[in-house]
């Protein structure tokens, strides 16, 4: 049994019980429906800003992009503006593809040592696909939820819902994004358990958000399709939160509170965890800088003078030998 994921699994189960029992047995609706969500949001916002400012406070002394394509040099050699961007539009394009489509991960290969010895490389698309599925479906789910926080609901959310429920299976219709999210989280969990190397480097904090997000998606689907909670009540509560007139409508049910408690925990956990990669990817100096260092001087704000061995000192030591060897010198 893997202690690293057991710890996180138990933590998420405890969180589930905490919210469920808290609401169903102790009647703490106000705490779980109003206080904690507000607190979590504040922690999230302040935490993320703090973290990003913390990074921004450290300067970028050197321009160190990873150059993954041909440099711009001679006019007749075709430069790769995307992988070795000389200009800012190139950097923007590179970042756009990194952030929205995980381009570097798309390169992923798998190596295998075979007889001979011979090392084989094969394309390994699963991680890229899994990651894309996970992030995009999660985004879709979040955007869909804006229905609960807006009145009137903008038409494009309706459009997104229509697209998301395209397959029209069941009543109410199953959203593709919810299913994909669950499946992707499960895949990301499985690879952490099954692939020996990934398992070896995984920490409990790598499992915790997976279980938590699984819990969020699971309780969400449960409410929509099985527990069938009072949607109007849920919207009332959500609208109360965003209009700063929080209310606790009657009879929404414990699962709903578990759902928003999980979301709250995720929000509050976010700034202190690796989930900050969402912000960090924008700040990575190996990706977000133009590769024009020989054409445009990059300034290091803390550049300081250093001790060097000057030519004069050098000549002083070797002058005689230099003269003898016929090398020109400054002082005869």
């Amino acid at each position: 049994m893997n202690v690293k994921y057991m710890f996180s699994l138990v933590a998420v189960i405890l969180l589930f019980l905490l919210a469920y029992v808290g609401v169903e047995a102790a009647g703490l609706q106000v705490l779980f429906g109003i206080v904690i969500p507000y607190a979590a949001l504040i922690v999230f916002i302040i935490g993320v800003i703090n973290r990003v400012i913390g990074w921004a406070r450290s300067p970028v002394p050197f321009r160190i992009p990873s150059t993954c394509g041909q440099q711009r040099s001679l006019p007749w050699i075709k430069a790769s503006e995307l992988d070795n961007p000389f200009t800012t539009p190139g950097v923007v394009a590179r970042m756009f593809l990194e952030i929205l489509f995980f381009r570097s991960l798309f390169r992923n290969t798998k190596s295998k040592l075979g007889q001979g010895p011979k090392i084989y490389f094969s394309l390994e698309m699963w991680l890229w696909l899994g990651a894309l599925a996970f992030h995009w479906s999660f985004l879709t789910v979040i955007v869909r939820h804006l229905r609960l926080f807006t009145e009137p609901v903008p038409f494009w959310i309706g459009l997104l819902e229509k697209a998301d429920g395209f397959f029209q299976v069941g009543v109410p219709g199953i959203f593709l994004s919810g299913v994909v999210l669950l499946a992707a989280v499960f895949y990301l969990f499985l690879r952490r358990v099954i692939i020996p190397q990934v398992n070896y480097v995984s920490l409990s904090q790598d499992f915790f958000p997976l279980f938590l997000i699984f819990g969020i998606a699971f309780t969400g689907i449960l409410m929509r399709h099985f527990a069938k909670i009072d949607v109007i009540g849920a919207k009332q509560l959500a609208m109360g939160l965003v209009t700063f007139h929080p209310t606790i409508p009657q009879g929404i049910g414990g699962i709903f509170y578990v759902h928003i408690f999980f979301v709250s925990v995720l929000l509050a956990y976010f700034p202190f965890s690796k989930l900050m990669h969402m912000g960090g990817i924008f700040m990575s100096p190996t990706r977000n800088l133009s590769c024009n260092t020989r054409a445009v001087r990059h300034i290091n704000p803390w550049n300081y003078p250093v001790e060097t061995h000057t030519y004069e000192e050098y000549e002083e030591e070797f002058r005689e030998k230099m003269i003898e060897a016929g090398l020109p010198v400054e002082k005869e």
Partner: protein
Amino acid sequence: MSDPKPNELIEKIDYNPPQKGWMDVPVKIRKGMYCYASNPKSVEYVHLPHARPWNPLEEDWKLPDNWKEIVHNAFRERLDKFRSFKVFMDICVRCGACADKCHFFIGTGDPKNMPVLRAELLRSVYRNDFTAAGKILGKVAGARELTLDVLKEWWYYFFQCTECRRCSVFCPYGIDTAEITIMAREIFNLLGLNIDWIATPIANCYRTGNHLGIQPHAFKEMIEFFVDDIEEKTGVKVEPSFNKKGADILFVTPSGDVFADPGTYTAMGYLMLFHYLKEQGLNVTWSTYASEGGNFGFFTSHEMMKRLNAKMYAEAKRLGVKWILGGECGHMWRVINQYMDTMNGPADFLEEPVSPITGTKFTNAKSTKMVHLSEFTADLIYHNKLKLDKSRNDSLIVTYHDSCNPARGMGLFDEPRYVINSVCNHFHDMPRNTIREQTFCCGSGSGLNAGEDTELRLCGGLPRANAVKHVHEKFGVNMLATICAIDRAALPPLMNYWVPGVGVTGLTEMVANALIMPGEAERTTNLRGEPLSGMEE
């Protein structure tokens, strides 16, 4: 100790990680896998702290009493000075995409050679010392305290990274292990924990201008020896100039090129190329003071890199040249491309580089004012300024090794390939996953090409050698071309070990062999003295 046989080395590779968690597996510093400790005299010479004799195999590393405090403060200082370091400490999600991208992991199977885990060695202490979660939750949050064993583990594994940056290409956030290794090594140097294969070249370079400690008169003599050699083989007497004021161009190349085969043939190539262009208006000088292109300071600290690199601009200024031409070297070009102008610029006393032969403006180097020889040569060939007889290289079936730093720290891919295709008839690239930005390290970069860590180098060089083997078997490749002096030193033994029958050459050596020199005698041999094809007796 004799080196293990190839099959023994392969048998040792086991990709299955141990049962125990990595924090519970103590480091074992193993012979053949580490480099000797720095010579205190060398450390002292460049005024780095805590110079002392010490031995990595001994229990007591004779650290300063307050070593933990030094590490902690140095860590914090670097987090505050380098956004790269801070972001890279925070955002790794341990997806594992980098794991099998590292040549040392592929070649050893040691899980701590996975880039992610190499970084976690530092990150675990970072969490413990600098993050709230780590302070509260401890090991559950992946945090651990810095102990002597942890420091030894750092030392062992950050000297098993060649700063090649291959992992950074595959990381979805661009986390660059080279950057992390650089920080770790900076910290080691504050404790006097460098390896001698870096420390002594640095001291040499500081004093004599080059890593090998060649004094000015000897440097000149060595090159004059090449002059005689060239005359013997081509009938042309080349006349290089040294420390010449009023030259247009300062030429700087790694000292390895003047020191040992097969780099020496590349050095002869430079001499011949410059001589050939003399009549067309090239006025170039060598310098005995700036007689090193490489920069082992880069493997020590940013400060040491700057101290050694300063000589290039200083000498260019003293001699009054217009711009600088750089020879074939790997990490040298990362330093020039990404650091030099920032550290030691602005080079406002130089002019925007223009080829005196073709008139091409090297606008991509207009601030740093330093041009790569491959850019320069490719431009010459493109403008038909070199008379070349490709067939002289007909006995060669060539492949090209992209050196890590010009690849991933510059993007120099097509210039050298253009040059190779212009000087030989048989060129075959290695498989796509092993060249260009995905190129594999020679296994000996970043100061690790010592003798005592041969096993490590052979393991790390396995993926590179294996790709060469592929084209050797498929196309009969018998020559591996490269533009790095460390490659020229490290790859011949690597080839001998894994792919016997493949030689190693610099680019300019091949150019010089094909170059039809005005007034040359009939060329019967190449620069190595081997008969040219059709000239065999």
